[in-house]
């Protein structure tokens, strides 16, 4: 059962990890995108629509990334160019996408496509204990592993990463150094949105193989919370996502094994956990990107 829970934690955690990695890039550049939830919804639906129309789930995934990026481009334009309040603009984008995906997705409710499924990596998946947990997963989970490394490396070790981080801390210094902080923020938000779209498609095309209205269920908001309590580090984003996944899987496993706990109380568990960790970490916070402090103020 432990193996099932750990493998499930990684599988479910990936639905948080992908948008959270995207949001990490965005927040490093000084933008908080609550529209992540909306970009996930857009990606989830676009993935199913394209997957069904073309017969290829992978084209669906690609479309989902594009739609997620486009949704976040709208958000980025609103807050970076038009100076709209970030928190409100994020919620507006979410609301807009909730409506749009409900309207457009209505005829796709209940339609199925072949989900991507799992792909056991030869040799690696045969490692005792760790193999089935880490290497008998969806290809998108493996993509998540790669992204953890790549994004961590780019942010910490490359010029581009330095520019992104500097934009989040001191945009005026970046401008003085000859780069355009707005352009960096736009780019970071659009890339973040692409990953959110990928996360949405992982839920729809990657696991269940269908679309249902409001299927992201607040995962995008949780991703934002995970990034906040990660202290803006890739490693803690990963840990947080897997923890959240573990909470969800443990809840459903407890129920499957006949524990008489109400499903909805268990459903609340991951949100409570996120809240508690966020509070504990916030109490000892030091390393918040400075430009972010202004982001969550009322207009």
């Amino acid at each position: 059962m432990i193996t099932i829970i750990l493998a499930g934690a990684i599988a479910t955690g990936t639905a948080i990890l992908l948008p959270a990695l995207g949001e990490l890039i965005t927040e490093r550049a000084g933008i908080t995108n609550l529209g992540t939830e909306g970009a996930m919804l857009g990606g989830a639906l676009a993935g199913v629509m394209l997957g069904i129309k073309t017969g290829s789930p992978w084209l669906g995934i690609l479309g989902a990334i594009v739609i997620g990026a486009l949704v976040s481009a709208l958000f980025a334009w609103s807050v970076v160019i038009r100076r709209a309040n970030q928190l409100a603009a994020g919620l507006i984008i979410w609301f807009l996408m909730l409506g749009l995906t409900s309207v457009i997705g209505r005829s796709y409710n209940g339609q199925v496509l072949d989900p991507i499924g799992t792909l056991a990596i030869p040799l690696l998946s045969e490692i005792p204990v760790l193999g089935p947990i880490l290497f008998d997963q969806s290809p998108l989970v493996y993509l998540g592993y790669i992204l953890i490394g790549v994004i961590g490396w780019v942010l910490a070790r490359t010029r581009v990463g330095l520019k992104v981080r500097a934009t989040g801390e001191r945009p005026l210094v970046v401008a003085a150094a000859g780069s355009q902080p707005h352009r960096i923020q736009l780019l970071a938000t659009v890339i973040g949105g692409g990953l959110a779209g990928l996360g949405g498609a992982y839920l729809s095309v990657g696991t269940v193989g269908n679309w249902s209205t409001d299927m992201t269920n607040g995962y995008g908001f949780v991703a934002v919370a995970v990034v906040m309590f990660s202290a803006w580090r890739v490693s803690w984003v990963t840990v947080g996502s897997v923890l959240f996944g573990a909470a969800i899987v443990t809840a459903s496993q407890l129920q499957a094994h006949g524990f008489a706990i109400n499903q909805y109380l268990l459903d609340a568990l991951p949100y409570v956990l996120t809240l508690v960790i966020l509070v504990v970490i916030s109490a000892r916070r030091t390393s918040q990107p400075e430009a972010l402090r202004a982001a969550l103020a009322p207009n």
């Binding site: 919620l91 807009l96 409900s102 919370a225 609340a268 509070v279 916030s282 103020a297």
Partner: protein, 357 residues
């Protein structure tokens, strides 16, 4: 804080083409609203609706429908209170995105009190106790986040958001197990409240007297915010916490008070929604009202009376989902798209150049 405003020509680009004059500032938002409406119509047409259908929905379903106004005012009961619930903490510099959860908790407690006392106490007493219980529940739900903010530095913009999901799960738990109506044909809903626990209608109308309570509360909130020293202190604390502290104000206390009061208003809204409108708890009694309310407060920049009015307008848009569904063949969620587009238009309209961010 130094901002990038000076490096941003976009916010000022429109100034030169605007006519000078008193109402010039109203033009960009109006243009934005018309553009949002136009985009919505195009989307509706793409979704297979017709111009005739849309006009029909507007003339027959909205303006030609004698029940429409009454439906709007009924829907405005929770929406207006949840919107005002955003404005008070905002004055103190706190974001309350938890209206949804506060509405739900208010509705839960009002239902619990109503079901427990409905048959043993007489009407007015049940109303007062249920409404007060709902307000307390909302205050608690918001107050938790304010406490986490002032003592643990946890961003209330995120914690209030997460608390919405927790409240929803608590409600679903109650409705699927302990409170499930045995005569509800399997539906997840509570037993209906006793008739004596339900607020009466305003005589001669089919609008609940809860609306009168809402009107009184809105004006009380306006008075509190604009005419009392507490409201002024709140503004100072929200504007510049250092000035506030040096003037001997406790920003911690003001933050807590503002969020408790905001939460109480939303909780009261949830309770009145139950006692005056719904009569029994169902999973979709609030149906995103909390978020719509936040948007209303946002576009009014947290001014109490405009927020109440715009929240009512948003209620009118939500109610229009019925005629849009029946006469224009659009999905019921299409009104979310319209609301989203309108708010986005207002958020990005050039008059926002005045806003600090």
């Amino acid at each position: 804080m130094i901002t990038l405003e000076n490096r941003l020509p976009a916010a000022h680009r429109f100034k030169s083409i605007l006519p000078a004059g008193k109402f010039a500032g109203a033009i960009p938002p109006l243009v934005a609203l018309v553009a949002a409406l136009a985009i919505f119509v195009v989307l509706a047409l793409v979704q297979g609706s017709t111009i005739d259908g849309l006009i029909n929905a507007l003339t027959k379903g909205v303006f030609g429908n004698p029940n429409y106004l009454q439906q709007v005012l009924t829907k405005a009961i929770p929406l207006v209170l949840a919107a005002v619930a955003v404005t008070i903490p905002a004055r103190a510099g706190l974001v309350n995105v938890g209206g949804e959860g506060q509405l739900i908790m208010g509705g839960i407690v009002a239902t619990g009190v109503g079901l427990a006392l409905g048959s043993s106490l007489t009407g007015p007493l049940v109303w007062v106790v249920s409404a007060a219980g709902g307000a307390l529940a909302g205050a608690l739900w918001g107050g938790i986040c304010a406490a986490l903010r002032v003592w643990f530095n946890a961003p209330e913009g995120v914690t209030t958001l997460l608390m919405n999901f927790i409240a929803l799960d608590i409600m679903l738990f109650l409705l699927y197990q302990p409170w499930k109506d045995p005569n509800g044909s399997g539906q997840p809903q509570s037993r209906p409240l006793e008739d004596s626990a339900i607020l009466p209608m305003i005589p001669g109308t089919r609008i609940s007297t809860a609306l009168l309570v809402v009107i009184v509360v809105v004006f009380a909130a306006w008075w509190l915010m604009n005419k009392t020293s507490w409201g002024f202190k709140l503004t100072v604390a929200g504007g510049n916490s250092e000035v506030a502290t040096r003037s001997g104000l406790s920003t911690v206390r003001l933050s807590l008070e503002s969020m408790l009061l905001g939460g109480a208003l939303a909780g009261l809204g949830g309770a009145l929604n139950l006692l005056g409108v719904e009569g029994q708890l169902r999973p979709d009694v609030t149906a995103t009202f909390g978020f719509v309310a936040f948007l209303a407060a946002f576009v009014c920049r947290n001014k109490v009376l405009p927020t109440a009015i715009v929240a009512t307008v948003f209620a009118a848009i939500l109610v229009a989902s019925n005629p849009l569904q029946l006469r224009a063949g659009l999905d019921g969620s299409a009104t979310y798209v319209l609301l989203g587009l309108l708010c986005l238009g207002l958020a990005v309209a050039p008059f926002t150049a005045r806003r600090s961010s």
